[in-house]
Symmetry: C4
């Protein structure tokens, strides 16, 4: 979500504009959010997920309320740690706001995932597979009986261990598709409705726009994003051969 | 535009042939045009945009009238700073012309973008998505209601700040398509006509050839080129599914 | 095969949990299994074969009964030598089991290839070309009269030298396709049946899942996997044009 | 052309087996044939042109009769300078033959291009675009009125300068397609016939196999190979939309 005129966000950021606060982004640990956002965005760029300043990403620092967010309208593959915005999740105030950038227009959407889902990271891409699926499908992206869906959580938890239980091979992965809007505020509302209506979902597709994927940690969010992108790519190919991506096992032979 | 027999250009270049003038291309700054052309061409090569010596690029040095131009007919991914031509935009004379190369046949087209549009950089690729769109579409490439078009300027400026206003999600991106010609001179005429007829355009597709994209800075030109290529790729995929890329939101369901 | 609840395997691994046994995975030789698994997985990741923690790989140490196996549910492109499980092929006991990982759910399938086929390495990917072929084809993937099939063994050996004889250009490559299952145990049975029924096969496709490829050495397994993936990709393209991938030479003209 | 049982070649190579003759392949110049073959094969590998040990390459040392040839049946992306065969073009005897490898089965085809066309280098790939074009087209691959064909020589020379004249935008590129054979000897005959029948051709497609591309220097051969591959890729896409790749300008609109 590159070009934004999100007045409220800019205003908030303004409070700390000029405050370099480099301690937030100076870490020699490649897994620190400020560094990880940079390396992940490079990978995403070469996947055609965030070219043309598209897409965005946010990571929460472990055991803290600090969320790191890539700025708006920048070339994602060229990000540097010092380009990052840092917001306190509790106060929703910027702890760090680089003067030369605008805060990401995705920020309210990222916050929704953090607050409504306890996310540890949120990835937003302009994946063409997501856009194509949003053109092919109605209100839900559905794919069933593909091994790769086993990488996606079912929304259920193991009673004994409390761990997430993933989908099984025989399940159907359902991802809600919401309508795009001109302004981010309205998209936040659609996202929050989808979050409420699909409590098991770990992603929301935005029609003619892209996808938001989140997870309890950045590693999980990355894995979910990769697995879902793989499944959306496969669904488009199945559609091209006339096979409904959620058809029963064996039913594909009626279509090819 | 690799192989050229552009007599006039070669003549001009002749004036400075043998003049190494290395001060124009010796910079340790990776963002100096002589260095940036090399690194961008590597990226373009791996996108299949400038393979087989196709395509070209020119960047204007900030706050100067010096434009840097990659030579004709060379392997773009192997360019070195010392391979660059440098021309003064005011005099249209070469300040630097490497003896072993021919000046780019794209030069008059680059100059048109500099002069008629105040460009800071011009990118020319042989993108297959551009060629395919030129086969599918008539005189205009049109795509609407896709988030990524928000990365492209609308041609309007903000009255207060004077900044470019980009297209909105509900707008239609229109890029003129001009006919290709055997000789570059004729292509220049077509380009200049398109520039006059489409004052908002930041790109021109050349039928069965490729695309020219420009912007007020090299960063903007690169972002526009990436965003437009993404949109052309998507348009071809939509066409393959029978969906008109500029159809109204929701209308796609009539076609799939 | 990322998420597994394979109780028996976990139990076995438990015997050596906490035993770091770093001597098994500390080698400066890039061709040592612990190192080679890491570098191969990076390559596989960028081919979209093991994204989203999908897929797996196992290599047997030369002249030993030690098999190295990548752990379950991890990001394959980020594997480190110390992440590897090591099992003794004779005792089927873990010599090394990193505490923080689960053993790969593919382990019984890898063992079947080692024991029934004398494999030196086994590669498992979630290749989309394999999944697509499993949707298009019935019980066998068949492709004929393509030069690349000459990279695949025919199952025959030269009487004099004892060396494998590869398929010829005029042969048909046949790869069995087995049904996927919810639990790995059942997949093992299907794989073993296919190994018995197709003694010449060096690969088995798992419907809606991916492919297992093995060979007498890791180099051969890698080459077979690449060649088969190339052929599956080509078969999907031929199918899209209406050409049966195993049609006679010249018969393709009836379809295009 | 990976797996070969080319008795005559092996016999020739036998004469120098065990002769390391490292002086032929020890050069610190990255443009020396022994080094250049390695770096080009890496690039080709990532283009899916020589995966699974497919394809091959040969480069003639400037101002000498020594031709360098990659060995048969090896992983092309892992080639080292010391793996190279070196043959004297005049005597057709090996000056250097690494004991552990078989000479490339492509050798007689490379020699035909050197002798009948005065080539400086020959590239052989298993490009899927070449295979697809060989399935779509009959005896000739034809594409017209695409800018990229201007990178390919027309077979004519400038009367004054003696330089190659390339195709113009309004020309049709024609590449002969020959039938594949089980044994290399027969392919040589077909190639030589095509060379005689198509004196302007700088490439020959082998049906269901791949392509041979040559040029007066390795740089030219590389550029021709890239440009032709681009054009074959485009031709397949045009065919998928129902557009004949050699149709007249504007005629495409009758088909889409």
């Amino acid at each position: 979500m590159s070009p934004c005129e999100c007045g409220k966000l800019a205003e908030k950021a303004g409070e700390n504009v000029g405050t370099s606060r480099d301690e937030f982004v100076s870490s020699s640990d490649p897994r620190h959010p400020a560094n990880l956002i940079c390396s992940l965005c490079k990978t995403f760029y070469y996947n055609n997920w965030v070219t043309g300043t598209g897409g965005g990403i946010s990571i929460k620092l472990n055991d803290s309320s600090h969320v790191y967010i890539a700025p708006s309208g920048v070339q994602k593959e060229q990000l540097q740690p010092e380009d990052m915005f840092v917001m306190d999740l509790n106060t929703e105030k910027y702890l760090r706001a680089p003067e030369k950038y605008k805060p990401s227009a995705c920020t309210p959407l990222f916050l929704s995932c953090y607050k409504q889902r306890g996310a540890g990271a949120v990835i937003h891409t302009h994946s063409q597979h997501a856009v194509m699926c949003s053109l092919i499908f109605g209100d839900e992206f559905r794919i069933a009986n593909i091994e790769q869906i086993k990488a996606i959580p079912s929304g259920k938890r193991d009673g004994a261990t409390g761990k997430d239980i993933n989908l099984s091979f025989f399940d159907t992965l359902v991802i809600p598709i919401i309508e795009n809007t001109a302004h981010e505020e309205d998209l936040t509302e659609g996202l929050q409705e989808a979050l409420a209506k699909y409590p098991a979902a770990t992603a929301v597709i935005v029609r003619r726009h892209g996808i938001y994927v989140w997870g309890p940690s950045v590693d999980k969010a990355k894995v979910y994003n990769e697995a879902i992108d793989y499944l959306m790519e496969l669904a488009v190919k199945m559609h091209q051969l006339g096979i409904p991506p959620d058809c029963a096992i064996g039913a594909e032979k009626e279509y090819v």
